[in-house]
């Protein structure tokens, strides 16, 4: 009993219950603790960081019913509780706004802890099914309309059900890749500099600089360069000629502002192929960034791009690399790693659902994202990913491509351990999940 009291007293001093338990087990009493040194505590099996903390708090707790609640007290009390940070943050914020006595504070904290304990998931809960249902069910209420204009009217992005499917399919490239780029403080409010940067990033092809015409009589292609785009994109006609020769390896002449290109052989086919090549040629800028829209938001200019090239954008001067966003999840996985991809899946899926006005708890989406990424690489929800790599033969056979899975299982001599849901449904026995995972035990004779 004495031990329990000591634990309580220690907890009042803002020492976490776990720590207090260790101290008590090591034979510390309150008086002993006041004399102890950090080394003594470390010997008792406490990390030095925690030991220092305890040293700070071991003296008497502040006198009861002090009218003015210092934030230190709130902090130390909170530290002793096992609560997730979201709650502690909120408590810290809200408790400081009001005046209250320590009794009230204790009562509040106790109630919060109780409420948290009550809200916790129960073991054996089939959270996977619930997550799948919670995401799948609102799918029926989502729109099919692929294109929708959100935020930036000029750039169209896929939304609704097709976008959700795209995210869960872990497609290599989304149907409408898009980036949001925020800029460094130095230039973010300077319109001209921002515009210059945008021209740098945006891909420039020959066709952006002038009009193309095919001269069939002379078997040549003429491009009338115009001054304005050349100036805007900071590129001289000579550079254009140089780049074109580099890229295409054909004869290019410059007459004033007129670019004349001859194909290697004067054949009609060659000519047309050359036109196609010119169309696809990138003169300047980052490949993949097809269009940029500049918008002013809260006093700063933000770039929205059609097309995505995360790695290259991050290397650009003038952009704020901590605030670059892309909706291409695979790219994020490649550049920033799987944890970033997980967060991106959660963000993208939440945004898609929110835009449709559908409320879905993050935890469900987190679970899906974790399932897709827990192997270290992005896996699709479906035949070629999570569902196809399950250990159970029967479960895979019941999902898709039944016969192939059965034949392969026979070749490998696979064994189905019958742990999952589908397998047990197929053989007709209770499922080891939820209430099926527990059994009553009869005590006594």
């Amino acid at each position: 009993m004495a031990k329990k009291d000591t634990v309580l007293a220690l907890r009042k001093r803002g020492i976490s219950s776990k720590m207090a338990q260790i101290l008590c087990d090591a034979g510390f009493t309150l008086s002993k603790l006041e004399k102890a040194s950090v080394e003594d505590l470390v010997k008792a099996g406490i990390t030095s960081r925690n030991a220092n903390l305890i040293m700070k708090n071991r003296i008497r707790p502040p006198t009861e019913k002090s009218k003015d609640m210092s934030s230190d007290l709130i902090d130390s009390k909170l530290r002793g509780l096992l609560l997730p940070t979201t709650i502690t943050d909120e408590l810290q914020r809200d408790l400081r706004r009001i005046k209250l006595t320590e009794v009230q504070l204790d009562k509040i904290l106790q109630m919060v802890v109780d409420a948290y304990e009550r809200a916790k998931v129960e073991p054996c809960e089939a959270v996977g099914i619930i997550a799948a249902q919670s995401i799948g069910e609102p799918g029926t209420q989502m729109t099919m309309r692929t294109f929708h204009y959100a935020g930036v009217a000029e750039i169209s992005i896929t939304l609704g059900l097709p976008r959700l499917i795209e995210i869960l399919d872990a497609r290599k490239v989304p149907s409408t890749p898009m980036m949001t780029i925020r800029l460094k403080d130095e230039i973010k409010s300077d319109r001209d500099k921002v515009r210059k940067l945008a021209w740098e990033i945006e891909t420039t092809s020959l066709l952006d600089l002038g009009d193309l015409s095919i001269d069939l009589a002379e078997m040549q292609i003429c491009i009338d360069l115009s001054e304005k785009p050349l100036l805007q994109r900071n590129i001289s006609p000579e550079e254009v000629v140089e780049r074109t020769i580099d890229e295409l390896g054909v004869d290019v002449r410059l007459e004033g502002l007129k670019l004349i290109i001859h194909p290697e052989q004067p054949s009609y086919r060659e000519l047309l192929q050359l036109v196609e090549k010119i169309r696809g040629m990138v003169l300047k800028g980052i490949e993949g960034i097809e269009r940029i829209v500049i918008r002013k938001e809260d006093g700063e200019y933000v770039l929205y791009t059609e097309g995505s090239a995360l790695k290259k954008i991050l290397n650009c001067d003038g952009i704020d690399p901590t605030k670059v966003k892309t909706n291409n999840i695979n790219e994020i996985a490649d550049v920033l790693g799987i944890e970033a991809a997980r967060n991106s899946i959660i963000y993208e899926a939440m945004e898609t659902l929110r835009e449709q006005g559908l409320e879905v708890d993050v935890r469900h989406i987190m679970l899906v994202a974790d399932m897709m990424t827990c192997g270290g690489e992005l896996k699709q929800i479906g035949r070629h990913g999570v569902a196809g790599e399950k250990s159970s033969v029967l479960s895979r056979a019941a999902f898709e491509v039944t016969v192939t899975h059965l034949l392969e299982a026979a070749i490998h001599g696979d064994v189905d351990e019958l742990c999952g849901v589908t397998e047990n449904v197929i053989v007709g026995q209770p499922i080891r999940l939820g209430t099926g995972d527990v059994e009553p035990i009869y005590k006594g004779g």
Binding site: A126, G139, I381, A397, A398, C419, G428
Partner: protein, 880 residues
């Protein structure tokens, strides 16, 4: 009761000829099935040793009757071996990567060992080794000289579906078999195969197992003719060819004929196994219908796996049309008497319920709460009929079982497809009622997504005590008011419940004592609060007071109702629209109760009650509130008809003027566009810019027209009440009915399709005007012109197609999600793991909180707790 045995695991493998011969009860040698008397021929395909399907006969292997005997395999000894189609590609790979002389894998010893170690490691870890095996085959195929016997390897060509050519010579299955037999066990392991369960030569069939008759029952047609199953037909073909092959070979027929027959045998075995192989013409029935092969029986939605094994059929269930009954509790279900007499619940007789059971049996099967069967101690079931019921009742003793008919208070599961979430199956209490439909409280429609336009629903009766306990604790309607999707209520008032509440609580409606009691009569309220005041010496109560009777005392809540316009400065309690709701200590002080308060998916008051007072209290509140609302709305009388859309003629003229003006502006826009005076918006072409501007202009016109119509339709209009309270419909719907339907769109644009440069031949080419692209000036009340009607139909059709596509797409998405996530479970250490024990999350959702127990995703409502303790409202924290 001893728990049934559990199947621990299932091992897959190939059947070896030895095993096939061992399990086959007989050899099949004749292609005939039945003799002239209709008896199965011995050693034929319907041999009585294979099991029986005809009633009256007994299985000659196990002695079982039809239904008892599971059937027994037999075999066909093939004269020459044939390739199993399913493994044709693998056979090619193995042929290419093993030596044609010594049969060993064409890789050096150390490389082999390396691969073998890797495969062993992967299998130990439970990972698939497909990619590794792929590399083995790739590497071995490249080798041209056997490293062991130095035999030069030849290129092997594979011709779909089952023939192999080595250097110009066709490899017969017999040759392949010989080669495979030479492969040592160690090398087989490197192919990812298990030599104990799957030797490669077993992929070349020498003996064909014949499935038992029970899997291919023959049907007797009405004409008395027997019609055999597809598989039997196929087996007959195989036996015939097999016989001919043997005769020819024994007679010493030329090689050419032998080879032809061999190929024919291969064809029949192939189509027996899989009749959809590319490159093979499907085998057909005499009528021209392709035969259903073994693999097609397994495949697809209606196949064995998805159709029969994953989808089970059950007894003790019922299905009928549903209809509403607002007087039922939300947790009740009205069950037709006919169904209640049919469905039963087993009762174990003990000394305590003996008399009760006797009474049931005494009443017999036709006298409603009766019994239909009794089960004696020796396990025999006796049907209770009118003739023996008295007698049986006396015989009853503890230990017997009685199948009692469904009666009031029993728990049953109720379900509506598509079962998209767990609220699609909930437990209800039975209430036996006359007539033939299931009756439910309309408030439980949202979770089932049901309406009463002819929907049917299913009912299941749990048969064991455990099942009933689970149903009661986990599946009762009250337990499912909160959706695990977002932690808010999904069950709540709909339609008339909301209109009724709205009419009751808006403004200061007053009632005298009689009316007040009348309204509350059905709501289980015992006493009335102090009257709000006296008029002519008589006490009166306000609607708000009457509603407050339902609220639990101690409930505090403030929020803004649906009517709130989000004014810049909120007047709070003084709101002239009565949109600021304040509930103090269970009393509605001000504000109107509407969809935001009690509606499904929203229901703030409901949400608060369930979170602070529990599910049972919330269920009671819902029952009471819906009944009160229905009483209110029936008392007032609430209807909507065509004349409710009438607006005065001067308003109609105004609307007409607005639309004319808008058309004029559109015309001017087009003129500007044609003259090239229009500036394009950034990032848009000029064409897109005109389109957008025209759309804007017309949209504005419709809104203005709607405003005028709305101005003339006041709160005395039922449709307005419904729209504003959130019961049904919107002001937009009303606008379309009364003023102007507005622009019709396909793919988010004005209507563009049709003829070249015009939508219909009634317009000039290139006409960009409003009416040429689907602007509907008329209102639904006025009626649409033929052209407008056509455009309207176009827009409507798009909606229909959209819905159809969406359901199939989202259905597949959900199937995939379920399949990927179904095995995840919270373990006792708080981690989320899948079947292999692999950890998916260390703490569920990063904080271990159950969304259905959370407050709209928040684990703890901190500000509410602070408010409850200190009585102070925390500024900045969201209220309610």
């Amino acid at each position: 009761m001893a728990s049934p045995k559990r199947i621990k695991k299932i091992k897959f493998g190939l059947l070896s000829p030895k095993e096939i011969r061992k399990m086959g009860v007989t050899k099949i040698i004749t292609a005939d099935t039945y003799d002239d008397d209709g008896y199965p021929i011995e050693m034929g395909l319907m041999d009585p040793r294979l099991g029986v399907i005809d009633p009256g006969l007994r299985c000659r292997t196990c002695g079982g009757r039809p239904g008892e005997c599971p059937g027994h395999f037999c075999r066909i000894e093939l004269v020459a071996p044939v390739v199993h189609v399913g493994f044709a590609k693998l056979v090619r790979k193995i042929l290419r990567s093993t030596c044609r002389k010594c049969g060993r894998l064409l890789l050096e010893e150390p490389i082999k060992k390396n691969y073998l170690d890797q495969i062993k490691l992967l299998t130990k870890l439970g990972q698939p080794c497909d990619d590794l095996v792929k590399n083995v085959f790739r590497d071995a195929t490249k080798v041209n000289l056997c490293p062991y016997c130095e035999e030069a390897q030849m290129d092997i060509k594979f011709e779909q579906p089952t023939s192999y050519v080595e250097g110009g010579h066709k490899l017969m299955p017999a040759d392949i078999r010989d080669r495979f037999e030479r492969i040592p066990d160690e090398d087989i392991k490197i192919f990812g195969m298990d030599p104990k369960n799957a030797r490669p030569e077993w992929m070349i069939l020498r003996v064909l197992p014949v499935p038992p008759v029970t899997t291919r029952p023959s049907i007797t047609l009405e004409s008395g003719q027997r019609s055999e199953d597809d598989l039997t037909h196929k087996l007959v073909d195989i036996i015939r060819i097999n016989q001919r092959f043997q005769e020819n070979r024994e007679a010493g027929a030329p090689q050419l004929i032998i080879e032809d027959l061999w190929e024919l045998l291969q064809y029949h075995v192939t189509t027996f196994l899989d009749n959809e192989v590319s490159g093979v013409p499907p085998a057909r029935h005499r009528s021209g219908r392709p035969l259903k092969s073994l693999s097609q029986r397994l495949k697809g939605k209606e196949g064995r796996f998805r159709g029969s094994l994953s989808g089970k059929r059950v007894n003790f269930s019922a299905r009928t049309v549903i209809s509403p009954d607002p007087n039922l509790s939300i947790s009740e279900i009205g069950v037709p008497l006919q169904i209640a007499t049919e469905l039963t619940i087993p009762m174990n007789i003990t000394s305590r319920n003996l008399e009760e059971c006797r009474e049931y049996v005494r009443r017999g099967p036709n006298n409603h709460p009766g019994a239909s069967y009794v089960k004696r101690l020796d396990g025999r079931r006796v049907k209770v009929i009118d003739e023996n019921r008295e007698e049986l009742a006396e015989l009853l003793e503890p230990g017997w079982k009685v199948d009692r008919q469904l009666q009031d208070g029993d728990l049953v599961l109720f379900n509506r497809q598509p079962s998209l979430h767990r609220m699609s199956i909930m437990a209800h209490e039975v209430k036996v009622m006359p007539y033939k439909t299931f009756r439910i409280n309309p408030a439980v429609c949202p979770p089932y997504n049901a309406d009463f336009d002819g929907d049917e629903m299913n009912l299941h009766v749990p048969q064991t005590e455990e099942a009933r306990a689970e149903a009661k604790i986990l599946m009762k309607v009250e337990e499912n008011i909160l959706s695990p999707r977002f932690g808010g209520p999904i069950i709540g008032g709909i339609h008339d419940h909301i209109s009724g509440m709205f009419l009751l609580t808006r403004g200061n409606v007053t009632f005298d004592k009689d009316t007040a009691l009348e309204l509350l009569k059905k709501s289980e309220i015992m006493d009335l609060s102090e009257p709000a005041g006296y008029e002519n010496g008589k006490p009166y109560w306000t609607g708000k007071q009457i509603f407050s009777q339902l609220l639990p005392s101690g409930l505090n809540l403030t929020y803004r109702s649906k009517m709130c316009d989000n004014c810049k400065i909120c007047k709070r309690e003084e709101c002239e629209k009565d949109a600021y709701v304040v509930i103090k200590d269970g009393n509605l002080l001000c504000g109107t109760v509407d969809e935001v308060a009690i509606g499904a998916f929203a229901g703030k008051i409901l949400d608060r009650i369930i979170k602070e007072y529990g599910a049972v209290e919330a269920g009671k509140f819902l029952d009471n509130a819906t009944r009160l609302a229905i009483r209110m709305i029936t008392r007032i009388g609430f209807s909507f008809g065509i004349d409710d859309e009438d607006i005065p003629s001067d308003a109609q003229e105004q609307i007409h003027d607005i639309i004319m003006a808008a058309e004029e502006r559109v015309k001017r826009l087009i003129e500007a566009y044609e003259a090239g005076e229009l500036d394009s918006l950034p990032g848009r072409t000029i064409d897109e810019t005109v389109e957008m501007k025209i759309m804007q202009e017309l949209g504005k016109a419709r809104n203005q027209a709607g405003d005028i119509a709305g101005h003339h339709l006041g709160m005395d209009n039922s449709a307005v009440v419904m729209a504003i309270s959130g019961a049904r419909g919107s002001m937009l719907n009303l606008t379309q009915m009364a003023a102007c339907v507005g622009q019709q769109s396909v793919r988010g644009e004005r209507i563009q399709r049709g003829y070249a440069d015009r939508t219909l031949p009634h317009f000039y080419k290139g006409d960009l005007g409003a009416d040429a692209h689907g602007f509907v000036k008329s209102s639904y009340k006025k009626g649409l012109s033929p052209i407008e009607f056509f455009f309207h139909a176009m827009g409507g059709r798009e909606g229909l197609v959209d819905t159809a596509v969406r359901t199939s797409q989202s259905g597949y998405l959900q199937r995939r999600l379920i399949n990927a996530l179904q095995d995840l479970e919270i373990k006792y250490d708080g981690t989320v793991r899948e079947t292999r024990g692999q950890i998916v999350q260390f703490v569920y959702g990063d904080d271990g909180v159950d969304p259905s127990k959370s407050d709209y995703g928040k684990s703890v409502n901190v500000s509410r707790i602070i408010q409850n303790v200190t009585g102070e409202e925390v500024m900045g924290g969201k209220s309610g």
